[in-house]
């Protein structure tokens, strides 16, 4: 066995369906806004309470936000899903990789949500909800038409493979 660190990757799977590249914008804006809020808080501590080390905190926040924004395209590219014969396969993350398999029959409902920026870009998030709260299958950044057709497809697949709770 090679000694090098190996990333987790499923063998023999088909092509992953990826989310829209425009989703990078949504994530980037989110990260920047979050960074700005943190910066404003640190700045308030610095200016109002006259605490010098808050400056270093601001520096760190800017650095982390910058790095996070730089990695955003790769993180979005790492999100993928595929409809296998009997289950939905989902993956995300490059640093923290996660693979989930949900049999279609376990579907309780499918949720489609749109944030303000995503709506402006014509994107939507699709959430596949099972009876287990921890399943956490959230496919973000789908084109609105794709999200709706995927939802209908999933509901149809779930109906044909329904199991009791």
């Amino acid at each position: 066995m090679p000694d090098a660190a190996v990333g987790l990757d499923l063998p023999d799977v088909e092509e992953w369906k990826r989310v829209s590249p425009r989703y990078v914008v949504v994530e980037t804006v989110g990260t920047i806004v979050f960074g700005l809020v943190l910066t404003a808080m640190a700045a308030a501590v610095w200016l109002l309470l006259d605490v010098q080390w808050a400056l270093y905190v601001i520096g760190a926040i800017v650095l982390i936000t910058g790095a996070s924004v730089a990695f955003e395209p790769r993180r979005v590219r790492a999100i993928g899903y595929q409809l296998r014969r009997d289950d939905l396969l989902f993956r995300r993350g490059i640093m923290f990789t996660r693979f989930v398999s949900v049999p279609y029959g376990r579907m309780q409902l499918v949720d489609i949500t749109r944030g303000p920026i995503a709506r402006w870009l014509g994107l939507a998030d699709l959430k596949f909800v099972t009876a287990a709260a921890s399943s956490g299958v959230l496919i973000p950044g789908l084109a609105e038409a794709d999200a709706e057709s995927l939802r209908d497809r999933l509901v149809e697949l779930a109906e044909s493979r329904r199991a009791g709770l």
């Binding site: 987790l8 693979f99 049999p103 029959g105 376990r106 009791g164």
Partner: protein, 532 residues
């Protein structure tokens, strides 16, 4: 069949509004006693009173008649409200659903599908138990989605439970007489009466009810019953994490006082001491007379000394089972079994926890029998040996796929024991060496499976895995597993979950095979436990 499960509307026990309104009545009594406190002390202890109370005021003004009239009106009003609420509260059990209608101004109607039943619970709180009433609760999945029948006559509740379970099991073809016969045998809207017997026999009845075992003796074969000796129960409560906390707090206190702290610390300690004694006491009282047994319609768990409770879990309603052993229990060889289920009875279970502790404390043999009851068909000698190794083995090549040596960086003690196996449609996850734990997940109930890897686990070529089940006290995860093995695990569990779910028929557990609805039939299209 009783007359209650015939599809007609029935009423509850006539004393129901009184029993349900218990808190209200206590509040009224409290108000009256608070106002007449000095008069009562005068009457009973002869202590003279100072100052007047409402009765003095009434006597002085000479409005005794009016006061009596007001009391009478209030009493009549209360009785009328109780009578109406009893009249309006009706239920019926048909071949498909349990349905309850209630309320006077705000009518409510709740209906639960029988094939979605997650459990049937009969609770006898102390006071209703004295007059022979019981509460029957049908739990279905979802928050606050249970159907409660409070209260029914004690024996009627038992019969109704049997009928509900029989109807739910899919056996209705055999059990129910022809529909017109069922219609003919009862008058419409007959209510569920308390037994109309003479006071003496009624009293004897109550006494028998009080001392009867929580399990109907002919409902379960005696060899499938597990009991807990009181000594072991007390021991299990004493040797708990809470005791460690109390002892540590005591030591800290003694050190604090001898090191020159204030004596006031001792005063502060006394309430804590009283609280912990009452904690131990309630835990023991609530778990006393614990029994678990297999019946044809599922596992029945009963417990309680004053307030008793008795829950039936039909087959295939258990989503995950956790068998665990805290360090303090190891010298005694005691184990605890807890489960995840989709429906939750609103009544608390043994030891004041939710109804998820199936075996509060038991030996290895008890655990084996309980698992046999919860997982019927998983009881071959091989599988039992596997379970025992899962509980007690130190690791190594024992049927489980364990974490590699490099996992010692993350789990220095337990890596040998951290492993999994899949046998007969059930995933077994083993972990922990200080506090040992084995989790069994029937793949037919599994919701989804995930594997994940972070920077540290990637460096060590490891990953972690998690099986998602409905929420509950048992969490099915493996902290470390070799990265290559995680992919095998993912594949095995994912395909196992699909094939087990397809062959699973436990929602109608007694239905003859040829009657099973195929997956394409739209029987499921009703939402879970419809609430209207």
């Amino acid at each position: 069949m009783t007359t209650l499960a015939d599809g007609e509307w029935h009423r509850l026990h006539p004393a129901s509004p009184l029993l349900r309104g218990g808190i209200f009545i206590v509040a009224v009594l409290g108000f009256i006693i608070a106002n007449l406190r000095e008069r009562l002390i005068d009457v009973f202890f002869g202590v003279p009173r100072y100052g007047g109370d409402p009765i003095d005021a009434i006597l002085e003004r000479g409005v005794v008649g009016w006061a009596l009239l007001a009391v009478a009106v209030v009493l009549v009003l209360i009785l009328a409200v109780f009578y109406l609420s009893w009249r309006m509260h009706t239920f019926r059990v048909t071949g498909e659903v349990v349905e309850v209608r209630s309320g006077m101004l705000f009518r409510s109607n709740r209906r639960a599908r029988l094939d979605r039943i997650q459990g049937v619970n009969i609770v006898r709180p102390f006071i209703p138990r004295l007059i022979g009433a019981a509460k029957l609760e049908v739990s279905v999945a979802g928050q606050d989605a249970n159907v409660q029948l409070a209260y029914l006559g004690s024996t009627l509740a038992d019969q109704l439970r049997r009928d509900i379970l029989r109807l739910a099991s899919g056996l209705r073809q055999q059990a129910v007489p022809a529909p017109d016969a069922a219609l003919a045998q009862t008058s419409r809207l007959s209510h569920a009466p308390a037994s109309p017997l003479s006071p003496a026999t009624a009293a004897a009845d109550r006494a028998r009810d009080l001392f009867a075992p929580e399990l109907d003796p002919d409902a379960a074969p005696p060899e499938s019953v597990v009991r807990i000796p009181p000594g072991r129960l007390i021991g299990s409560v004493v040797f708990s994490g809470f005791t460690v906390f109390v002892v540590l707090a005591g030591i800290a206190l003694i050190v604090g006082v001898t090191a020159g702290g204030s004596d006031w610390l001792l005063v502060a300690f006394i309430p804590t001491l009283i609280a912990s004694v009452s904690f131990y006491f309630t835990r023991v009282i609530k778990s006393l007379r614990y029994s678990i047994a297999g019946t044809p319609d599922g596992v029945r768990v009963g417990f309680g000394l004053l307030t008793t409770s008795n829950e039936t879990l039909p087959p295939g309603r258990v989503h995950a089972i956790g068998v665990s052993q805290p360090l303090l229990w190891r010298p005694f060889g005691w184990w605890q079994v807890r489960i995840n289920t989709a429906g939750h009875s609103s009544t608390q279970g043994a030891a004041g926890e939710a109804n998820t502790t199936t075996l509060p404390v038991g030996t290895l043999a008890d655990v084996a029998r309980v698992l046999e009851l919860i997982l019927p068909g998983f009881d071959s000698a091989e599988q039992q040996a596997l379970i025992e190794r899962g509980l007690r083995s130190k690791g190594g090549d024992d049927g489980f796929t364990n974490a590699p040596r490099r996992a010692a960086w993350l789990h220095p003690f337990s890596w040998r024991r951290t492993g999994y196996t899949v046998v007969g449609g059930i995933a077994l996850l083993r972990r922990g060496v200080i506090s040992r734990e084995l989790v069994l997940v029937p793949l037919a109930r599994l919701q989804s499976v995930a594997i994940s890897q972070g920077p540290v686990t990637r460096m060590l070529r490891l990953a972690s895995a998690r099986l998602h089940t409905v929420a509950g006290p048992v969490s099915a995860y493996l902290g470390v597993v070799a990265a290559a093995e995680a992919l095998v695990f993912f594949d095995r569990i994912a395909s196992g979950a699909i094939s087990s779910a397809q062959s699973d028929t436990s929602h109608h557990w007694n239905q003859p095979i040829q009657d099973q609805p195929t997956a394409a039939q739209p029987t499921w299209k009703q939402p879970n436990g419809v609430i209207e």
